[in-house]
């Protein structure tokens, strides 16, 4: 196995995008290898046999997987570069908590966006707003989704906005979630900004009207080279293509 740093990713994977942003923020050189999700490389299967997912960071032949774990690893190993996580244990716990919340819900989103396009708002609501009285979304064998259009969709839109406001509240008057500096939680969340356009057009939402601070934050992040560089390889049209491909694969013709 070769030495050095290899990142296995997928162009529109928001989880892989987190790692790219973090590596660029730290000014770390690495080799990027694009994976095909319908034809995973032997290297990916060898390096992440448990989940067989991207991103995987291979450092001197040893694999690190799960995007937030990779961020922590990068932060520990490249200590001499600007830190992503705060040094205070309590603030670190806070950052991890919020990143975990985003992560939990983002997975739901990924799985359902491809199956139920009209459900994208429902899913994104679950992404950010855990307390929804109107519907329940389960994942994995034996579970089911139930929702209906009309009223529930309207309720879901409200849940979405309530959820985004939760994040807006956490941001507060800070420049970044990390405070004055772009950090761990900013890296964890910003890739999902790529989807905001889709949500707005699907659900006829105007996120900026309701969460101006969040949108201002996202735009600030986009000014960073590490972020804009990552977004450039994954334009929204590519996301739509991915959705279409996954839906066809699932036999969903809706």
């Amino acid at each position: 196995m070769e030495d050095g740093l290899i990142l296995l990713g997928y162009n529109i994977s928001m989880f892989a995008m987190r790692v790219r942003i973090a590596l660029d923020e730290k000014g770390i050189e690495y080799e990027y290898r694009e994976e095909r999700l319908d034809n995973k490389s032997p290297l990916l299967l060898e390096m992440n046999p448990v989940h067989q997912k991207v991103p995987v960071l291979i450092h001197n032949g040893k694999p690190v997987s799960e995007s937030l774990m990779i961020l922590e690893y990068i932060d520990e190993v490249w200590k001499d570069k600007p830190p992503l996580l705060p040094s205070d244990p309590y603030q670190r716990a806070q950052a991890r908590f919020w990143a975990d919340l985003i992560d939990k819900k983002a997975r739901l989103f990924y799985e359902y966006y491809s199956k139920y396009p009209q459900c994208v708002i429902v899913v994104f609501a679950e992404l950010i707003a855990p307390h929804n009285a109107y519907f329940q979304i389960y994942i994995n064998g034996g579970r089911r989704v139930w929702f209906s259009k009309g009223e529930e969709l309207e309720a879901a839109k409200k849940e979405l906005m309530d959820g985004l406001k939760l994040l807006e509240g956490e941001l507060g008057e800070k420049v970044y979630f990390g405070g004055d500096k772009f950090g761990f939680l900013d890296v964890a969340l910003i890739p999902f900004y790529n989807c905001f356009d889709s949500f707005e057009s699907c659900g006829k939402l105007r996120i900026e009207e309701h969460c101006p601070k969040l949108i201002a934050w996202a735009k600030r992040c986009m000014e960073k080279e590490s972020v804009s560089k990552s977004f450039a390889v994954a334009p929204p049209s590519m996301i739509d293509e991915y959705i279409l491909m996954t839906r066809k694969k699932n036999g969903n013709t809706e």
Binding site: V64, E66, E76, V77, P89, A93, F97, G141
Partner: protein, 220 residues
């Protein structure tokens, strides 16, 4: 408030709370606690400390809440250095985090799928659960502990769930020591440890709780 006041919002039978109690015991930390009534009505303190999820465990350190059990264990390890729970090297730590994440995502829900189902669904749930344990058995290998030679972070993360295993075994009709003997041996080894022996609840209490939950869900 006096220095280092620790207060735990707890639920005795929750594997997630058990983790935190074991971690505190391993570090030799004194703390006070409050058992939450998750079915009758959550305390104001819980609602205030964890407004988003309203879940236990919550550790209050000098009044400041830390949420999510794995997060709490990391926090305890970072704040109270001795003895260290996580490995020293970065790669070892990343592997520990990876498996802790796997355990978090799979074990409790995998077990819940067993007690929530019957018939064919139960058979499926049982097989999936055994599969999850087999993966963990792979991670254990021939080591004494998931952490290596010493009991550590990853052992703490998983051992709390073991008090629920007898209930899963009974409902699913299987034996972990037959399906995953190394995990069975690991459980016995960990129970020999004082922090674990003192903290793990009696399995029959978990059985009673699950029986109640099954009635609530109309399964029995």
């Amino acid at each position: 408030m006096s220095k280092d006041e620790l207060f735990l919002l707890d639920f005795g039978l929750s594997p997630f709370c058990i983790r935190v109690r074991i971690a505190l015991a391993e570090k030799g930390l004194q703390y006070k606690g409050q058992e939450e009534d998750l079915f009758g009505g959550k305390s104001e303190l819980l609602q205030k400390s964890n407004p988003i999820y309203e879940k236990v465990p919550v550790l209050l350190h000098n009044g400041k809440p830390i949420l999510e059990s794995t997060n709490i264990v990391y926090y305890i390890d970072e704040t109270f250095a001795s003895p260290p729970l996580l490995p020293a090297c970065s790669y070892g730590r990343s592997r520990a985090r990876f498996w802790a994440d796997f355990i978090d995502k799979k074990v409790f829900d995998g077990g819940a799928a067993i007690w929530r189902s019957k018939g064919d669904e139960l058979e499926l749930a049982k097989n999936e659960f055994i599969d999850i344990l087999k993966k963990l058995e792979g991670a254990l290998g021939d080591k004494d502990y998931l952490g290596g030679e010493k009991f550590g972070f990853l052992d703490i993360v998983l051992i709390g769930s073991s008090s629920w295993f007898p209930t899963y075994e009974r409902i699913g009709g299987f034996k972990i020591e037959d399906e995953c003997p190394k995990i069975g041996a690991w459980i016995k080894r960990c129970k020999g440890r004082e922090s674990v022996a003192k903290t793990l609840p009696e399995p029959h209490k978990v059985c009673e709780l699950v029986g109640m939950l099954r009635k609530m869900h109309g399964i029995e």
